[in-house]
Amino acid sequence: MIDETVTVFERSRAGRRAFVAPETDVPEVPVEELLPADVIRERPAELPEISEPELVRHYTTLSSKNFHLDEGFYPLGSCTMKHNPKLHERVAALPGHARLHPLQEPEHAQGALELMWNLQVALGEIAGLPHVSLQPSAGSHGELAGLLLTRAYHEDRGEQRTKVLTPDTAHGTNPATVTMAGYEVVKVGTADDGGVDLDDLREKAGDDVACLMLTNPNTLGLFDRNIEEIARIVHDAGATLYYDGANLNAVMGITRPGDMGFDIVHFNLHKTFTQPHGGGGPGAGPIACSDRIEPFLPVPQVVQRGDSFDFDFDRPKSIGKLRGFQGNFGVFVRSYAYICSLGRDGLKDVSEIAVLNANYLKALLARPGIEEYLPIAFDRTCMHEFVVSGSGAKEQLGIKTLDIAKRMLDHDVHPPTVYFPLLVDEALMIEPTETETKERLDHFADVIRAILEEAKEDPEVARTAPHTTPVRRLDEAGAAKRPVVRWRPEADNPGDPERAQKAPASGSGAM
């Protein structure tokens, strides 16, 4: 029971506990006298009963089934898996940050407001767009904010626009956001050099278009040389130009969205400005914009009044609130520490080394023994990432990109992003980031070479990989067909036998 896969609920034993309540120092009035009978919970929530030692062991053991950035190379394209400086956890944990209530009056939260202000100023400078709201909770939330701002901007001008353009290389959140924001998605094609197809853009950029969402460098890791012409076309159509900042790691201190002509940008603080990714968040997706968009920014805005700071709620044209309070402050603390540590020179250094590492790894993969099987898509100097196609391996070796990725798991490296962007067949999207050493890049190329060599001998090894992981390939189709999305005592349960009988509060009927 101890070593196999068992949920914390199955470890429960009636009567065990970790928590002990502080003493009840007020009269022990019966619950029935304080709450009406019909609102009182009848059956307690079936939470695990477990001692602290076993609780610690359960999650410690679980954790060791995760591959993680502090263990090895994690070139997950588009995700900017750079090192998370340990200083950031220390400063975020300071009680003055960690135990500060979001509704503390500004006069008693001056340190926090100054930090947010300084971060806004820095992000504005990096983006080349002066006005910043830190509120959005993640990149996709920032995208939504961007389109809500666009809508408010156009409505304020009495314009009704119904379409938003996105390149076919766009990240999935872009079109998904368009729909959520009440617009219709119109795809723009990609030219042979991997950039936006200008003719297609010209054709589609009509006066019913509200916005073009773009990332530059794009998801192919390529910088669109025609960015100025693109901006001209979009602006001539009266639309806004939105910058998906997920790829900002390539260009800090070198070029700025604002200077390229973008009106609105979101940052992924958890990418460019290093947050621990936490297994899927938290992050933050601040936005920056130009003067004409500024009146519509969310409330509250942090403002400087003399040498103190305050929240401004009085913004008549604001789109309102995107979420509670003022955003993911704990994330701001870490990114602010990062910007303070690196400074103006360090940030530029980041982008230069990120691009160096990507091009070096690309060069390693362009060598004989690899490039025949994994040709580089749109081969030119890349920025912080690049995309290769597994088409060669598929045809000549009979192993798919998925097989290559799964085989990497046996080599203790995290696979790149696979099957994205969609217009590249069997895509592998590789982003090494600047915090990786040459040895790591060399090792990764060796691993790929070894996997391809091996496949020449025996493709079955890759097809059935991984072989050394806690579990092997999992039945995802079955999982989706008959979804089991919570543990139930009905299921065979080594836990407290009684519990196996009685269904929990929510057991009734469900699934």
């Binding site: 970790a18 007020v26 619950v31 709450l35 009406p36 609102v39 929530a45 939470l47 009963e49 999650y59 679980l62 089934k65 995760n66 950035l69 220390r90 400063v91 975020a92 009680p95 940050h97 960690a98 503390q104 001056q110 340190g111 926090a112 400078e125 909770s137 939504l144 809500l148 809508r151 999935g172 998904a176 729909t179 924001a181 009440g182 910088f223 100025e228 070029t255 200077d259 992924n268 936490g278 899927g280 609130k321 979420r323 509670g324 303070c340 690196l342 360090g346 160096l356 100097t381 991984p466 579990v471 092997r472 390939r473 999992l474 039945d475 999305v485 919570r486 929990p504 509060a505 469900a510």
Partner: protein
């Protein structure tokens, strides 16, 4: 200047050589001169770790946190005690530094945590399906609105004035995008949602009805009655809930709620000046394929070994793009981990004990303060009172190291002298008595006690 890069002079030479260029400059030739920055960024120079620590510590010292004062402020986020083992577990690189588990074979830790989290949320809410987290509370409410739209294709949302002001604001902001109107239902004189008014506001265009349990004033709502009134015309009943209160209150799922969403901060997450925390999103079985966010599911591997995967991904942006049921990608996995560890730490009995402690201290506090109650009915962990000469009381209290609560005036002009007082297990009877003596001095003759 701090550096987290590793490229040495020698590395640089070798790497540029392998690439076949002369200098770093050559890697950026695709960027037109005309859009180059051409100067240094206007930012301070980089600093050493020690100097950055000193700078941020100095900033932190200028905030008055719950470590520095006795706070009765709640209003959506609460100063609960976060057990030490959460620091230890969340600090483990294995949980802290990976990203979304796209490769399940090397992510079973994170995936099982999601599955356990979903189970715990399902237990709390009394609904069979929960996702692995959304951003936070108010945006979770907005996400519920979007699901109501997708499900019903109707145009109107009805929200109780008892819903958190931030939730109402976020709902309106998002609804402006997906093109829906939001109608507000007032509170009755006891600070509970006016059931008649709600019934009247609901019609055939209504996609969703939003209530909160307990509501923003702390009032325990009659969710059953509200559900009955709200669902008459086929709208979804969305109940926002304080997960801690669900330790003693009947799960919304047992009272007719179709969706139960909320702010997860009270479950083992720090205050952090408002975030990051997590939002939870639970639903009835019929919505499982319209839910936002990641969902972990149980399955087997090729050897028949039990395992977990991200499932029902056809709902999601990376697969369905413009047809996705929501655009969320990065969520709040680490905060959700804190949530399920916290609930496991409390355990079945401890969770109830905690709820009962808060219930008793809260009613004791309302008594002790002896002020006119805005919501005299049952409350769990928070209540609203009228404080004559509020500003004065605030000042005296702050001088005494006590933050007496959240003034209602900004969000509820009708309660210009209203104060929202929250109690946690960290606020002892002695703290409450000190607050009472402070406000007590202010009670005018003959005011109701």
């Amino acid at each position: 200047m701090s550096r987290y890069t590793g490229a040495t002079e020698e590395d640089l030479r070798e790497m540029l050589g392998a690439i076949g260029v002369e200098s770093l400059e050559d890697l950026f030739t695709d960027i037109p001169e005309s859009v180059r920055l051409g100067r240094e960024l206007d930012l301070p120079p980089g600093r050493s770790e020690q100097e950055v620590y000193e700078h941020l510590a100095a900033l932190a010292a200028r905030n008055r946190s719950a470590e520095d004062e006795i706070t009765f402020v709640g209003a959506g986020m609460y100063d609960h005690y976060v057990p030490s083992l959460i620091d230890t577990l969340l600090g483990r690189s294995e949980f802290l530094t990976p990203y979304t588990p796209y490769q399940p074979e090397i992510s079973q830790g994170g995936l099982q945590v999601m599955f356990e989290f979903q189970t715990a949320i399902s237990e709390l809410t009394g609904l069979p399906v929960a996702n692995a987290s959304v951003y936070e509370g108010p945006s979770a409410v907005a996400a519920a609105g979007y699901l109501a739209k997708l499900e019903t294709r109707r145009t109107k949302l009805v929200a109780s004035r008892g819903l958190h002001p931030h939730s109402r604001a976020a709902l309106a902001t998002h609804a402006a995008g997906y093109g829906m109107e939001v109608v507000e239902v007032p509170l009755d004189e006891d600070g509970a949602t006016d059931v008649e008014a709600l019934a009247a506001a609901v019609d055939d265009d209504t996609a969703g009805v939003f209530v909160q349990q307990p509501n923003f004033l702390g009032t325990v709502e009659d969710v059953g009655a509200l559900a009955e009134a709200g669902k008459r015309t086929g709208a979804l009943l969305v109940c926002a809930a304080d997960p801690i209160a669900l330790s003693v209150l009947k799960p919304p799922g047992e009272l007719g709620a179709d969706l139960c969403v909320g702010e997860g901060q009270p479950l083992g997450n720090r205050l952090d000046f408002g975030g990051p925390s997590f939002g939870f999103f639970a639903a009835d079985q019929r919505f499982i394929r319209k839910m936002p966010g990641r969902i972990a599911g149980e399955t087997r591997d090729v050897d028949g070994k039990r395992g977990f995967v991200l499932t029902l991904q056809t709902r999601e942006q990376h697969i369905r793009r413009e047809k996705a049921t929501h655009n969320i990608c990065t969520a709040q996995a680490l905060n959700a981990l804190a949530g399920v560890v916290y609930l496991s730490w409390l355990g079945k009995r401890g969770f109830a004990e905690l709820g009962e402690l808060l219930l008793r201290r809260t009613h004791y506090a309302r008594e002790a303060l002896g002020l006119e109650a805005i919501n005299p009915g049952p409350v769990v962990r928070e209540f609203a009172v009228r404080v004559p000469d509020l500003r004065d009381v605030m000042q005296r209290a702050r001088a005494a190291g006590i933050n007496p609560g959240y003034p209602l005036a900004r969000d509820y002009p009708e309660f210009s002298d209203g104060l929202l007082v929250a109690v946690t297990e960290r606020r002892t009877r002695e703290h409450i008595d000190r607050l009472a003596s402070l406000v007590g001095a202010q009670v005018p003759e003959g005011a109701p006690a």
